[in-house]
Structures are given as structure tokens and as C-alpha cells.
């Protein structure tokens, strides 16, 4: 098990390391704790969502409504915070409400996918359209800035442990927790099993519907947490702030080696994939690359990474000799 996990993440890790080395030479600023923490912090929200997306993609699904769900939760908790008293309990309440809202929205996706058997991409596409429309209609795109937020939330957003922002800590906690779920809980193993072989999973008594509802609800839960992280990160709520983010999230997951058809995917890989995207963004400015060429670089790096990864994968498959040929 361990050896193959390593090999799957190897190529992406290699790319990340190669990029880091290059950037270190290009810009001395890159390899400073300050910069690396900034990169981590900037990509924490995407990271949290990508962790959840990993589970969805392992089971062979996809959720393009994550950004919409996150901004819906952002807006709701933002509105709530406008009226909340400046008391510690407000924070607790927030940490209760946001995940619950996320779970609710995620569960709707899950039920439609599992029970009505509509392909995940279609359900979530529809949901995205609906949620985005509603959010825009209700908020009219109005910013909610931190002036009226409870002070305790701002304090929370500014917490640092050994210089590491609480947002990064949330991301790390989510990644670790999800890794634990995948590795050590029954439901986590069922997620992997379903990704590996749906038919077999049914035969050994795994409830496919339940697992699907779980992964989409879990995705929702993480979207709720991501909403808190996002609000803590920007210290304001911009209903349009997450538009289009779902593609970045998916890109992070698949760059991390998850197979879009299901079965393959690890939390470690996803974290690396998100970091790769983040480092590219960061590096483009640090390397002082012309503004207009930045996207060209990003596109090329994505294409190279996915092609390289796929070629590696094909080679490893070739090497998996099915037949013991006599010498």
C-alpha cells in the first residue's frame, strides 16, 4: 500500500519540488517562511474545498457547485454576524451554523445524485446556477465588511500559532481529519472501495447511495468550514468573491493525481496539487513575469503536469506485468 501511495504522489511532488528549486534561484524571497506561509494561507480555502472534492472524485463524482455553496454560506454567516453580539458564544454559534448549512446544501446534491441517479456534474451544475442566482438576487452583490462583525471574530481571524495563521491551521486540521477518515474509518474505506469497483462494493454490502450522500454532504460540510475560513481571510463577505473557484478546486485535486473517473486519489496528493497551483501563482509575480504572459505560463504548467502525470501512470501500468513470463 505504502509503496504505491508514494509512487502516485511522486510525480506531483517531483514537479512541486522542481518548481520550488527553480523559484528559489529566481527570487530569494520565495524560500522565506513568510512567503511560504502566505502561499499556504492564500490557498487554504481552495485547499479545504479540494480536500472535500477529493472524496467526491474518488467515488467517481464531481461537484461544481462548491464555490456557490461556499459563497451562499459566506453570505448567510456574514448577515448573521451583522447582528451577533460580540461574545465568544457568537463564534461557537458560527462554527455550528456554517457547517450545518453546508451539510444541508451538500446533502441535497447527494440525494439527487444517489436517489434520482442524475449524473453528479449535471446536478451540481444546476445547483450552481440556482444558488448563484439566489445569492445574487438576495444580496444584490452587496459587500459586507468587517465593521459590523463581532470583534471576537476578527480576533479569531487574526490568531496565529507560532506565526501560523488560524486559517492555515483550519486547512491542516481539515486535511488531517479527512485523511484520518479515509484511512481509519469504515466510511472512508467504503469511499475508496466504491471508487475502486462499484459492482464489487455492492456485492460486499456497501450501501452505495449512503456513501454518495455522505461524500456530497461532507463536501458541503467542508464548504461550510471553507466559508468561515474565507470570511476570516478577507474579513468581509463578497457574494461574487468565489465565482469560478470551482475550476481551481477541481484542478488542484486532479493535479494531485486523483483520477477523474474515480478510484484514485489521496489527500496528500490533493494538498500537493493545490500547493502547485498556489506556488505557480505566487511564483509568477516573484519571478517578475510579465502580467500578460502569466496565464500562458499557468496553462502550460497545467498541461505539462497532467501530461507528465499521465505518461508516468501509463508506464507504471505497463510495468504491472500480468503474466509471469519465464526467463
Amino acid at each position: 500500500m505504502k509503496s504505491i501511495l508514494k509512487s502516485k504522489e511522486m510525480s506531483i511532488a517531483a514537479i512541486v519540488i522542481a518548481l520550488c528549486i527553480t523559484l528559489t534561484f529566481v527570487s530569494p524571497v520565495f524560500l522565506t517562511a513568510d512567503n511560504l506561509l502566505d502561499v499556504l494561507k492564500a490557498n487554504s480555502v481552495i485547499g479545504i474545498l479540494a480536500v472535500g472534492m477529493t472524496l467526491v472524485i474518488i467515488t467517481g463524482g464531481i461537484d461544481v457547485s462548491v464555490a456557490a455553496v461556499t459563497s451562499a454560506v459566506c453570505v448567510i454567516i456574514g448577515k448573521l454576524m451583522q447582528v451577533m453580539p460580540d461574545h465568544f458564544s457568537s463564534l461557537l454559534l458560527l462554527f455550528l451554523i456554517a457547517p450545518l448549512l453546508g451539510i444541508l446544501l451538500g446533502a441535497i446534491n447527494g440525494v439527487l445524485v444517489a436517489k434520482i441517479r442524475i449524473p453528479a456534474i449535471v446536478v451540481t451544475l444546476g445547483m450552481m446556477s440556482i444558488i448563484n442566482g439566489l445569492v445574487l438576487y438576495i444580496t444584490n452583490g452587496v459587500y459586507l465588511n468587517s465593521t459590523n462583525f463581532p470583534k471576537v471574530f476578527i480576533q479569531f481571524a487574526n490568531i496565529k500559532v507560532f506565526g501560523v495563521s488560524v486559517i492555515i491551521l483550519i486547512f491542516m486540521a481539515v486535511a488531517l481529519f479527512t485523511w484520518y477518515i479515509l484511512k481509519y474509518t469504515l466510511i472512508g474505506r467504503e469511499v475508496l472501495a466504491i471508487g475502486g469497483n462499484k459492482e464489487s462494493a455492492l456485492r460486499v454490502g456497501i450501501n452505495f447511495d449512503k456513501v454518495q450522500v455522505f461524500v456530497f454532504s461532507y463536501m458541503g460540510l467542508l464548504a461550510g468550514i471553507a466559508a468561515i475560513a474565507q470570511t476570516a481571510y478577507t474579513k468581509s463577505v463578497d457574494p461574487n468573491g468565489m465565482l469560478g473557484l470551482e475550476l481551481l478546486v477541481i484542478a488542484g485535486v486532479v493535479l494531485g493525481g486523483a483520477n477523474i473517473m474515480g478510484g484514485r486519489g489521496t489527500i496528500m496528493g490533493t494538498v500537493l496539487g493545490v500547493l502547485l497551483l498556489g506556488i505557480v501563482q505566487n511564483g509568477l509575480i516573484l519571478a517578475k513575469i510579465d502580467t500578460f504572459w502569466q496565464k500562458v505560463f499557468t496553462g502550460c504548467i497545467i498541461l505539462l503536469a497532467v501530461s507528465y502525470d499521465h505518461i508516468q501512470y501509463k508506464r507504471s501500468q505497463e510495468k504491472l506485468a500480468k503474466i509471469e513470463v519465464e526467463a
Binding site: M1, N197, G205, K210, F214, K322, V325
Partner: protein
């Protein structure tokens, strides 16, 4: 009263348009090995799936387990009652480790947050594997295992479950003789522990070696349950097919014409090594050996979809490298793969669309558009000549039975007017009547001048159709036999040992093995 572990009565199952099971009864005693037999399509797998909770039987079924009324609506219900099922196509998770594959399902239905205990998992797995005398690192991912090894994992899973009833659907299909023997030993051990086993197999010899009783199904109906001692193989076959059938060894030698195909030292790492033989027009060369001996890989190399590393191939005397399946078709090579449903046919498409696919190019008019009428006529032609039923060119291929599907695949390739036909497991999953039909068809095609390579694990089949037989073992040709000198014994010796010499124990010699 209850020395019965399982009693299923009045089991019927209706699918849209088909009655798969009709008032079947099936009773298994504690601690017996009970063979469930019947032709393909007799309803064995439907019955097993009902037992497994994958299908729900029609109204009126009664189901007793350990004398108590049992409700099995979902797979988990069966698992919890102690029923394990080893499916023929295996239920493994290639992305998970050996240990997990053995352990999986044990916790199904428990709280989702239940902690997975990796130590316990590995211990359970190790213990089960020990019992099978199969040594392997339990952390190896299953995708790295050979098919035979995977089958053992599947058996280990059932062992690890402490099941009361284990269903084995064709468990030996890819095991070597030694492994089969191990399996027999395990079965005997399980029996002594009071575990019941339902054994499904086509190898009659094998059935008689392990089973205590037989239940025979025919056309979805219950024929009867018999004690193993009261029957012999011929009687059993008669019960299964309602008539006596056996196929004869081929005696008419084909008229080997000029050489069509010649391979010299064809090699691909991890697939096959140093393959040399020739195929002449009008002859049928049978290639046999255990599953996983490299036969299919070799066939695909000739067909251009599995490129060899080295070696030479000549077609009609000219050296050639087949670059793609398209190239192969152009050169008159046809390949009928082993798995009809996933590789041979596009199930959701119509018979016409399937048959015409390789030759669409020739069905175009001046504007490059497909001449639909001509296409349908072509399909009809092959449907008629091959007697495909139902003879409806617009039906989806998936609606047909296995034998008819196979005829469609053959029709598809005959439409290309090939000079070489490679056919992998031509009668896999086809009932016996259709089998002989297909054998006759192959002989007829050879007589018309086609060069045919038949790949098959079923020795009687190889003997029934071939002019020459190549036996593969571990990716190499272990031996070549002319039909005149070929017997099941000497083929098996090559396949298992790589030589003609017979040193095998009696019970694996498969002297009179008949496969249905």
C-alpha cells in the same frame, strides 16, 4: 428437523420480458458441499444473486436460514447471516490492499465512524491466507496480483468471514493444478467445521471430486436434487441439457494451404516471449494453456493493439508490423476478444451498427455517407446465415443471449472478409447447443480457406476444432501437438509442467474431463 442450513422454495424471478426462475427450490444441508449445476442461462447466477440479496425474488418465495424465516433484501443481510459469495468475475478492489480486500464487508452496516483497525485487519487476512497456504504480503495492492492470485484472495475473504455458507461460482477457472488441490483441501476443512458450500462449476470431474449433492436447473426450472453417489457424468449431462451431448474430437484434418501468418521470436516483456509458429490457410490452430499464460496478449499483439517489443511477423510472405487494429482489419486480420460484453460488442447499439462497424468504409456512397439500406441488408445477411435470434437487426446487442451475441460478433468479423480469424474463448458462457453450432461454423470457415486461431481453456473444445494445438505456459509456447497425437493428458502436462511427461497425481489428470 433442521439439518438444513438453507431452504429456498417457490423462488421465481421475472425480469422485463423474461422469466429467469420459475418456482425453483434449493436446499442445502449443514456441512455439505452442494453443487448447483445447469447450462448457462439455466438460472444459476440469478438464484445466487437472490441468495446474495442482489435481486429480490417475485412474490411468494419462502426463504429459511437455519430453520428460521430469513429476509435477505440487501447484500448486507446475506453477509450478516454468514453467507459469502465468490463471484466468477471476482469482487475485488484493485486499488486496495490484499488485507483490506479480505477484510472488507465485515463491517458493512456498522456505524460509519467505526474505526478501522489495520492491525486486526492484517491479522485476519494473514490467518486466512495461511489457511490457504498462500504466501503474500498483505499490504500489496490487489492490482499487482495475477488473476489466479486474485481468486485466492477472494477465497481467503470468504474464509475470513467465518461464514456458515460459502458460494463458489467457478472458483477454479484460473487456478493451477496445485492451487486447485489446495482449494480442495480447504473445502474439506470447511466441511469438517460444519460450513456448507455451494459449488458452481462447469467441470464435471471437479464437481464429482468435491460435491456431496447436486441440484440441477434447466431453463429456469428446478429439475431435481440428487446424491452424488447415485449419478454418473453422463446422467448428469442428460439432466442438465435434457439430452445426451458430448463433443467429438476433431478427425477431419483441414487442408493446410499456403502460409498466411508466420511469427518469429515475437516477444513482449511481461506478456509473452519468443513466440514462433505459422498459420496456414484452411487450418485451425488451437492455443491453450491456463488463464494468464499470455495467450490473449499474444492474440492482441497479432491484432495490433498490444505492440510487441521484438520479433518478426510475416503476412502472406511479406514482413509486416501491424500498427493498429485498423491496420489489422485492412490486412484481413479479425480478432474476437474474450469478453463479449466489454470488448466484443457495444451492447447498447443495434445489431446492425455492431456488425457494420469494421466495414463502414465500404458502405459509403459517393458523398461519404453510409448507405443505410445496404448496411441493414448486410446485417440481415449475417443474422440469417448465422441464425441469430431474435433476428431483428435494430435490437440492441445487449438484449441477446450469450450465444447469439457471439454469433453477432462472428458476423461482424465475417463481414470484413478476413483471411485470418483469431477467436479468444469462442464459447465462453454459451450454452452447449450453441457451442457445437459455433464449432461447426469454425470448421466450415476453415474449409472455405480461412486461417483460424482458436484460443481456449476448454480442452474438449480445443480438441474438437483444432488441426494443431499450441500449449502456452508462462508466456512461452511449451509445446506443439498435432491433433492426431493430442489428448487432454498431454496438453495438461505441457500447460502445467511444460513437458509431455506425465508426473501428475491422478485426480488432476483430468482424464475424462468434460466441460459444458
Amino acid at each position: 428437523m433442521s439439518d438444513y442450513l438453507l431452504q429456498m422454495t417457490q423462488i421465481s424471478k421475472t425480469f422485463p420480458g423474461v422469466k429467469a426462475l420459475d418456482d425453483v427450490r434449493f436446499e442445502v444441508k449443514k456441512g455439505e458441499v452442494h453443487a448447483l449445476i445447469g447450462e448457462n442461462g439455466a438460472g444459476k447466477s440469478t438464484l445466487i444473486k437472490i441468495l446474495a440479496g442482489m435481486y429480490e425474488p417475485d412474490q411468494g418465495a419462502t426463504f429459511l436460514f437455519e430453520g428460521k424465516d430469513a429476509q435477505i433484501n440487501k447484500p448486507i443481510d446475506a453477509t450478516l447471516k454468514g453467507i459469502s459469495i465468490i463471484y466468477q468475475d471476482l469482487s475485488l478492489f484493485s486499488n486496495l490492499s490484499v488485507a483490506e480486500n479480505i477484510y472488507i464487508g465485515r463491517d458493512s452496516g456498522k456505524k460509519p465512524w467505526k474505526k478501522v483497525n489495520w492491525n486486526e485487519m492484517e491479522n485476519v487476512a494473514k490467518k486466512a491466507l495461511q489457511e490457504l497456504e498462500f504466501e503474500i504480503d498483505v499490504q500489496t495492492p490487489v492490482e499487482k496480483l495475477s488473476i489466479a492470485q486474485q481468486q485466492l484472495i477472494e477465497i481467503a475473504r470468504a474464509l475470513a468471514f467465518d461464514s456458515k455458507l460459502i458460494v463458489m461460482d467457478e472458483p477454479t477457472s484460473s487456478l493451477s493444478a496445485g492451487e486447485v488441490e489446495k482449494l480442495y483441501r480447504v473445502i474439506n476443512k470447511l466441511k469438517q467445521r460444519g460450513i456448507s458450500i455451494i459449488f458452481v462449476s462447469h467441470k464435471l470431474k471437479e464437481l464429482f471430486a468435491v460435491s456431496d449433492r447436486f441440484t440441477v436447473l434447466r431453463d429456469g426450472k428446478y429439475v431435481g436434487t440428487y446424491d452424488a453417489k447415485e449419478l454418473d457424468e453422463d446422467q448428469l449431462i442428460t439432466l442438465m441439457v435434457g439430452r445426451k451431448v458430448l463433443y467429438e474430437k476433431n478427425t477431419e484434418k483441414g487442408l493446410a494451404g499456403q502460409t498466411l501468418l508466420e511469427l518469429k521470436g515475437l516477444t513482449k516483456a511481461g506478456n509473452f516471449k519468443d513466440i514462433s509458429f505459422e498459420l496456414k490457410a484452411g487450418e485451425i490452430v488451437g492455443i491453450t494453456g491456463l488463464v494468464g499464460s499470455g495467450r490473449t496478449e499474444l492474440a492482441q499483439a497479432i491484432f495490433g493493439v498490444n505492440k510487441p517489443d521484438s520479433g518478426e511477423m510475416t503476412l502472406n510472405g511479406e514482413s509486416i508490423q501491424i500498427k493498429s487494429s485498423e491496420h489489422a482489419v485492412k490486412k484481413g486480420i479479425a480478432y474476437i476478444p474474450e469478453s463479449r460484453k466489454t470488448q466484443g460488442l457495444i451492447l447498447r447499439q443495434s445489431l446492425t451498427n455492431n456488425i457494420s462497424l469494421p466495414i463502414l468504409k465500404e458502405l459509403r456512397n459517393g458523398f461519404g455517407l453510409i448507405k443505410r439500406k445496404k448496411e441493414v441488408d448486410l446485417a440481415k445477411h449475417y443474422i440469417d446465415t448465422l441464425d441469430v435470434r431474435p433476428a431483428h437487426p435494430h435490437r440492441a446487442a445487449g438484449d441477446l443471449s450469450g450465444g447469439n451475441q457471439q454469433k453477432v460478433v462472428i458476423g461482424k468479423w465475417l463481414s470484413t472478409k478476413p483471411q485470418i480469424l483469431i477467436i479468444d474463448e469462442p464459447t465462453n458462457g454459451i450454452d452447449i447447443g450453441a457451442k457445437t453450432e459455433i464449432h461447426k461454423l469454425l470448421r466450415k470457415l476453415a474449409a472455405e480457406g480461412l486461417g483460424i486461431i482458436v484460443i481456449s481453456s476448454e480442452l474438449p473444445e480445443v480438441l474438437a476444432v483444432s488441426d494443431r494445438i499450441l500449449v502456452m505456459r508462462h508466456g512461452k509456447i511449451a509445446g506443439e501437438l498435432d491433433i492426431a497425437e493430442a489428448t487432454q493428458e498431454n496438453i495438461m502436462n505441457y500447460a502445467l509442467l511444460g513437458s509431455k511427461a506425465s508426473t501428475l497425481k491422478k485426480n488432476v489428470q483430468a482424464s475424462k474431463e468434460v466441460s459444458v
